[in-house]
Amino acid sequence: MKFRNPLATARNHGSAGDGVEHWWAQRFSAIVMLVLAAWVVYALVSVIGATHAEASSFLAQPFNAALAILFLATSLYHSRLGLQVVIEDYIHHRGLELALVLLVKVGALVGGVLAVVAILNIAFGA
């Protein structure tokens, strides 16, 4: 049985009109992090319990700095997509829902910029 009209099928946007992009972005960012997973575990193990000098010289290596920026940006993006879905599912007050989603988006952006500037600062030894 088919309830959807031909135009909706052609547009292929599902019942909500949008959301397919969000779904793909969540998966794509997951796959990017999956590729980086081994390095992330190696980085965490290297850096937990390290002194300031050890940790900064680890992050100052170009390869590590680049992957750290890539991973932090991707994980913040993935995190904001995921938190958005959680908020949309459980917050039933429309105004609060929009405010929280906006807060998460701005928070992820600000956190990302701060982290990237900090890593570049360490990498270029300012």
């Binding site: 997951a30 999956l34 300031h52 932090l72 995190s79 956190g111 982290a115 500037v117 900090a118």
Partner: protein, 126 residues
């Protein structure tokens, strides 16, 4: 339209918890834990870029027993979300969707997450 006499699907409180449903909500819950931990990761790079004194102050907080427990919980959440995320991607591709595949992969994810967490902290401590 009368809505008071219509049949309802079983409520969450009545339904017996199953491995599949518990792991499903755990994926979401660990996602929230990881997002909260990302704030700490961003603060960590900022502390590292701010010099040795700031970094030592950060480490003093992080090495408090509560901080250590939070880090172990965070890494457990990380490995769970990573492995269960792979399980979700395989489902998206159409694999392991039968009951047997869902249960076997579920047990693998839980076992793998605990083992990888133990192994990583063993590596950090030694």
């Amino acid at each position: 339209m009368a809505t008071d006499n219509r049949p309802l699907s079983p409520h969450l409180q009545i339904y017996r918890p199953q491995l599949t449903s518990v792991l499903s909500i755990t994926h979401r819950f660990t996602g929230i834990i990881l997002s909260a931990g990302l704030i700490a990761v961003v603060l960590w790079v900022i502390a590292l870029a701010s010099g040795p004194e700031q970094y030592d102050r950060f480490l003093a907080v992080a090495s408090h027993p509560a901080g250590l427990i939070a880090m172990v919980v965070w890494t457990l959440a990380l490995f769970y979300h990573l492995l269960n995320g792979i399980r979700h991607l395989l489902w998206d591709a159409g694999w392991l969707l039968d009951l047997k595949g869902a249960y076997a992969s579920g047990y693998m994810v839980v076992t793998g997450a605990v083992l990888l967490t133990a192994l990583s902290w063993w590596e950090v401590m030694t």
